[in-house]
Each structure stands twice: as structure tokens, then as C-alpha cells.
Amino acid sequence: MTRSRLRTATPVDRRTFVRALGLGTLVAGLAAGGLTGCASAVGEQKAGAAGGTAVRGGSLSLAGRTDLVPGNFFTTSSDGVTTVVGLVYDSLIRYPNDKVEPRPRLATAWTLAPDGLSLSLDLRPDVTFHGRNGAAGRPFTSKDVEFSLRTYADPRWSAQLRSTAAAITGFDTSDPHRITLSFAHPLSNLYDLLDTVPIVDSESLDALGRGESFVGTGPFRFESWTPNSRLTFVRNDHYWIPDRPYLDKVDFTVVTDPQAALSGLRSGQYDVVGGLAYRDIQTIGGTSGFHTVTLDGAELQTYVGANVNAPGLSDPRVRQAIAYAVDRQRIVDEVLRGSGYVVNLPWPKYSPAYDETRNSTFTRDLAKAKALLAEVGPLPEIPYNFQANDPVHQATAQIVQANLAEAGLTVTLAPLESVQFTKQLIGAQFPGIWTTYHSWAQYTPANLTVSAYPFNAQKNASNYVSPAYQKAADDAWKLPAANAPGARAAYDALNDQLLEGLFLIEIGVVLRQWAAADRAQGVGWTKRCEVDLTGAYRAV
């Protein structure tokens, strides 16, 4: 009897356990079914299917890798900043993506004095800043233009075109809808500045610095910012372009992991995603329901920089050997997946400084590279820095290392974390060569030498000092306009200096890309990669 009771004291046998497990699975399944059945989070995200008709209403969800940094507001250096500036603010003029010719925006017309020392701009009279709770705010006037340009020139904001803004010496704002700017000297990149500077509200600049409020005249009003997470924007019902924007709402989510962003796009959580690897963009671009947005006009350039004071690199023949050895086409084909093209000089093809002949100075020629290195004699091993978290730089560095090894030059790959890399770049502390991107060549040519630190003629990351380069850069900057008489000669001189000094060995122009679901249509951008959703809509 005892024995029998002890047997019944072991009631959970294998069969019972399996039954219990099955029951548990069923309950879990029912729970999951219940969760997903009563109201689907995925269904709510995907509302709105692919199609082609522009309609009012709806929302778009964007995803980018880097959050807003209010202190970087004027530097367009993060996805959060470019989203806020693109959606909430307007500029005085706007360049079309494929040209460097100003088009009206908040300024409707302008007249540059023949000597290039003053510019008068007529301003739109029907523009208001964003008000509280969706109401129209105060009117936009010439005082706001003066305030915005003065703020941009404030060293506190480290804006890239600060030196150009600082060259504005006078502001005549006696007419609220007309402003006349006076300059210390002619500024060939003046319109670049007017295209770049967002018109900010003087009454909320402190709140902007704290990340609490962003008030502009743009198509969307800033609604909220949850740091490290999300920005939300709502339609500006008082926008000066009639019946625009189409969308009621825009969300921007910070997604630091590119694979998570890709999954979010595939699952319908996001409509437009930036910061993906070119390989992933190519794949999803060929998938039904998705397309690729190529940001023509917002080009970057990838290059090999050289510290001309570093052992071995002080001899220009070594830098020439590198220029001959690098297989640029392979980098464009394999790393950028064709989203770019080979260059020797920084300019994109539509730039006034682009020169097909000079741009072909250094084509891959291993024999020449070897001969140059043989002339120089034995060289030390050269460190090669790049940002470790960027797959483009990582792959580029590996190809360049292999190319240089073929030519007989040994370089050691030395990946750096992003902040450390930037610190060494600004401090001109690289011990050898490095690879990264530069920007600002998509504007007026002179902009590059006064705005992009690696090209700065006075002080740069390569420790390159050349009176001839300084003169060429200064001559180009002080042209009355980008296409003024004599501009071609000035750009030729600048190009010759860049090719002679070769402190930055260009690899290629990089065309940035976003991946988007087909339901997101009409997505635009500026030359600084700011998202422009004025004409964007959710297709139904």
C-alpha cells in the first residue's frame, strides 16, 4: 500500500509534461494571437499602401543614426539636426540639387552691386514664424535675416561658413521686406551662405540652444523631442506655399544600429531610412515595395589625407606615388556599389571648378608609383587611420592598403573611434595618412577652402602650408561671384595648387542614398542633406 501511494506520489510523467508544455504553448499562442488580433501595432504602422497619387494628410516616419545635438544646430553634422533644419526652417535662397544657381525662397529677388561689396534682397511679405498651438506667429522681416546671419557668425556655434558670415559688415533693415548687406570684400560664396543659414526666431534662440524649442518659418512645426529617441513635427497650416505640405505629421526616430533600421523599414515601421550600408541599400532597392533615393547634389568626397610633416610623407613624390597607386574605380564599384564616381580633384561634375583634363591627372599606374618610390628610397611603415565604425572607410582603407603594398609602400591600418578621429583631424595629429569624407565641394568652389577644415589654406589637418595655395584660395574666395569674369582662371590656379600639393588625395565623389518604402513619395533634400518634405506625401 505504501508502495502504491509512493507511486502515485510521482504523478508528472513524460506524457503529462509534454501535455503541459503543449498547453502552455497553446496559451502563449492564444495570448500572442490576442495581442496581435485585437489591435495590431504593425498594422497601425503600415497604414497607407503603395500607390501614386498625392493626397493631403497622413504621416511619414523617418529613421536616422544620429540624434539632434542642439549645440551643433548650425553645423549640419547629425541626422537630427538636418531633419529639424530641413523641416522647421527656411533659407533665403535655395540651390537646385544639380546647380550652384540661387533660386527664390524667402528672398524673392536680389541685386548684387557691380563691385561685389553689397547685396540687396527683397523678402516675401507673407511669411510668418510658427506660433503657439498651430496659430500663425509673428511676421518674418528683414530684422530676422540680420539676426540669423549675426547668430550664424557667432563663434559659439562653430558654423562652417562662419568666416563668410563674419565678412558681412553692414545690415540695412530700414524696410521690413528688404535688406541690404555690405561686405568687407567680395564674397564669391555669398549665395552658399544664404542657401545654408536657417532663418531663426530671435525670441526663442536660447530655447533652441537648450533643445526645448525650434521656431522657424518652414513647412512643419516642431512638436517634441525625446532625446536619443524621437522627434515629432506637425504641419504648418500657415506655410507660405499654398496647399503645402501634404503631410500632417512627421516622426524621426534615432536608430543607431543600421540593421535595426533596415528591419524597421522592411517591417513597415519606418518609411524613409538613412545611414544604411550601400550593400543593404542596393539589396532593398531591388526589393518590391521599396526604392532608393540618391541624394544628387548633396555629395561627399572620400579621400586619403596625408600629414606632410610625417616621416616619409614630406616628400611630394611619395604622395604622388599614393595617388598613382590607389585603385579608385574598385573603391567606387565595390565599396560604394557604384553610387559615386572617380575624381582627382574634389569637385562634382556640375561644379564651375570641374575640369575633366585635370581630373584625370592620376589614373592608376603601378609602374609610375613604383618608380617614384624607388627614387625616394627606403620608407618607414606609415600608419593609416580611419573611423572604425564606418563600413565605407573600413573597406576603403583595406583596398588602399593592398594597392600601396602592390606599389611597395607598407601602411598599417589603425582604426580610431569617431570622436578620437575627429580630435586628431582638428589637431592635425595624424601620424601618417587617413581616410574620411569631406563636404562643401558641392557649393561654390571657394567655399571648400574657407569652410572645410582639411582644405583650409591657413591651417589644415595635413599641416600643409603654401603661400601659392593660400593665394589661389584667397583669389577664388574674393571673386565677386562664382561665375564672375576670371573665375575659370582662378579655379584652374586652385586646381593646380591642389594637384601639386597633393596633401589630400581624392578618391571619389560619394552620392549618399536613403532607402524608402514606395508609400513614401516626393521626398526631397537640400545640398546639405537636409530632408525636404514640402512636396512629400503618403501614397494611397
Partner: protein
């Protein structure tokens, strides 16, 4: 019990002070500073120096440390260099998200451990043992960045029935059904290794308890095995599991950094990750010190719970 708790407080304070020095010092040893991020790659060295001076980063390190510590004692957590807002607000926002995620993960882990652990002991089957051991090993060995990606690929991309990441747009309380859907995948991803670990502890503890003489006596008296396991061995085995769970809270907080990145969950983990990558010293210092404080507190609470469950500890410890 109060004396028992009081005896553990001094060591907790020492840990916090030493941690504050280490956190502050180690952050300064990492190359680069927040001024570099604020300046951007096109800034001149002069602009960088001006920003560094404005942030007080050109002052001696010990002076910066004392200033920070002084602010902490007055309840001022400071302001983020890069985000611009109050750190207290940032931490509170992130803390809510992390607490929700970590709580869900721990609850899930405990439920799994209890069901699987007790089930495995009750069945006394070799193949169930092997299955549980294998599952535990996989749960422990599978890194969260692998399990997370797999979960997303299966449940958000291939079978799009759950969101791939993010938090409910309207908050946690507005739509509990939607909230649950957003929570499922990150909670499983974060909770699986914890479940594997504490299941193993529970199974071993239960087996140890089942070998005790009181179990033999109970069986001799004819008490059913299920009753012995559930009402006698399990309560005796729980302290061990609780200790293991306390230790695992550290893993949960550490694992949250990766899980929050994979699932775009804006908690403290992502705040730490962003803070470190951008050298936002004030934010990182507060968050790391907070992590240490939470860990110390959890250990303290675990000791107290352990003592409450097992009088031998209380008696041996203080009474």
C-alpha cells in the same frame, strides 16, 4: 533585521565613492572629449579650445571631480553638454523605459525558470533533463545581438506580427495591448539569458533539497512528490534562485545597452551608449554611478530577502 541591514551599509557607501572616482577618472582617460563632438570635423583648433574652456574642461581634473561631487550632494545632477537638457529629466525618461523593459524581462525569466525548473524536476526524465540543459545552454550562450536580430527577422520581417522596435507612440499606459506587442521581443531577448541562468540554479537547488532527510521523511509519510516539490523543496530552493537573480540584475542592466540598441528602445542603455560615443561626460558619469547604485541596492535587497527567507542567515548575521 535592521541591524543586519545597517551592518551592510558602510561597505555599500565605500563601493559608491570608489566607483565615482573610477568612473570620473576612466572617462577622462578615453581619448577625445565632448568639445570635439560639439565642434564638428570642420572646426578650427581655436574653436575647439574655446568650447573646451566654456565647458570647464580646461580646469584640473580633481577640480572638475570635486565640482561634480559637490553638485551631486546638492541634488543637482547637472546638464548634458550635448543634449542641452537637465540630466535628471533625461535619466527619468530613460529610467522609466528601462525599468519597464527590465521588469518585463525579469518577470518573464522567473516564470520560465519556475515552469521549466519545477517541470524538469517533477518529470524525472532523462530526455527532459537533456532538453532543459540544452535549452539553458543555448539561452546562456546565444548573445543578445544574435537572438535579437533573429527575433526581429522572424517576428517583424518574415511574419510581420510584432513591431521590430521602438516604444508605443502614445506611451505605455494609453494602449496596454499595443504596449505588450512592443515589449514582447525585447523582453524575450533580454530575459532569455537570465532565464537560462536561474533555471539552472533552481534545478540544482531543487535536486539538493530533494536529497535532504526531510524529503525522505515526507515521502515515507506518503506525501505526494508534487506536493513535496511545490510546497517544501521549492520554498527552500528559492533563496538560491533569488541570489542568482540578484546577480543577474547586473547582466540585465548591461544587456539592456545592446538590447535597447537592437530594438531602438530609448532607455538608459541607449543613453549610456550615446553618451559614451559622444563623450557626454555629465550624462555618462551619472548613469554609470546610478548603475552601480542600483546594483549595490539590489544586492542589499537580495541579502535582506535571503535573510527573510532563511532565518539561519539572519541569526548568523546579526541576531
Amino acid at each position: 533585521m535592521l541591524r543586519y541591514v545597517a551592518s551592510r551599509l558602510p561597505s555599500a557607501l565605500v563601493v559608491l565613492v570608489v566607483a565615482s572616482i573610477l568612473i570620473f577618472g576612466l572617462l577622462r582617460l578615453v581619448p577625445g572629449d565632448p568639445a570635439t563632438t560639439l565642434a564638428g570635423p570642420d572646426a578650427s583648433p581655436e574653436a575647439l579650445a574655446a568650447i573646451r574652456s566654456a565647458l570647464g574642461l580646461d580646469r584640473p581634473v580633481w577640480e572638475q571631480y570635486l565640482h561634480w561631487l559637490g553638485s551631486l550632494f546638492t541634488g543637482d545632477l547637472g546638464r548634458s553638454y550635448l543634449i542641452g537638457g537637465s540630466i535628471a529629466d533625461l535619466v527619468l525618461g530613460g529610467l522609466l523605459n528601462t525599468v519597464v523593459l527590465a521588469t518585463a524581462a525579469v518577470l518573464l525569466a522567473v516564470v520560465i525558470a519556475l515552469v521549466v525548473g519545477v517541470g524538469a524536476v517533477l518529470t524525472r526524465s532523462r530526455w527532459v533533463d537533456a532538453l532543459v540543459t540544452g535549452a539553458n545552454t543555448v539561452a546562456l550562450a546565444l548573445p543578445t545581438f544574435v537572438s535579437g536580430v533573429l527575433l526581429v527577422l522572424v517576428f517583424a520581417v518574415a511574419l510581420p506580427i510584432l513591431p521590430s522596435g521602438g516604444v508605443p507612440p502614445l506611451g505605455f499606459a494609453a494602449r496596454p495591448d499595443i504596449t505588450a506587442q512592443y515589449l514582447v521581443l525585447p523582453a524575450i531577448c533580454l530575459g532569455l539569458p537570465v532565464a537560462g541562468s536561474i533555471t539552472r540554479f533552481l534545478v540544482e537547488s531543487l535536486r539538493t533539497e530533494l536529497a535532504q532527510p526531510y524529503v525522505l521523511t515526507a515521502r515515507a509519510l506518503g506525501v505526494p512528490r508534487r506536493r513535496i516539490v511545490l510546497f517544501q523543496a521549492l520554498p527552500a530552493a528559492l533563496p538560491s534562485m533569488l541570489t542568482a537573480l540578484g546577480i543577474q540584475v547586473g547582466s540585465v542592466l548591461g544587456g539592456a545597452v545592446l538590447v535597447e540598441a537592437i530594438f531602438t528602445w530609448p532607455g538608459l542603455g541607449s543613453l549610456v551608449e550615446q553618451g559614451i560615443s559622444r563623450r557626454d561626460y555629465p550624462v555618462v558619469q551619472v548613469l554609470l554611478l546610478l548603475s552601480v547604485a542600483v546594483f549595490v541596492l539590489v544586492q542589499l535587497l537580495t541579502d535582506v530577502a535571503h535573510a527573510a527567507l532563511d532565518p539561519r542567515i539572519r541569526i548568523g548575521g546579526s541576531v
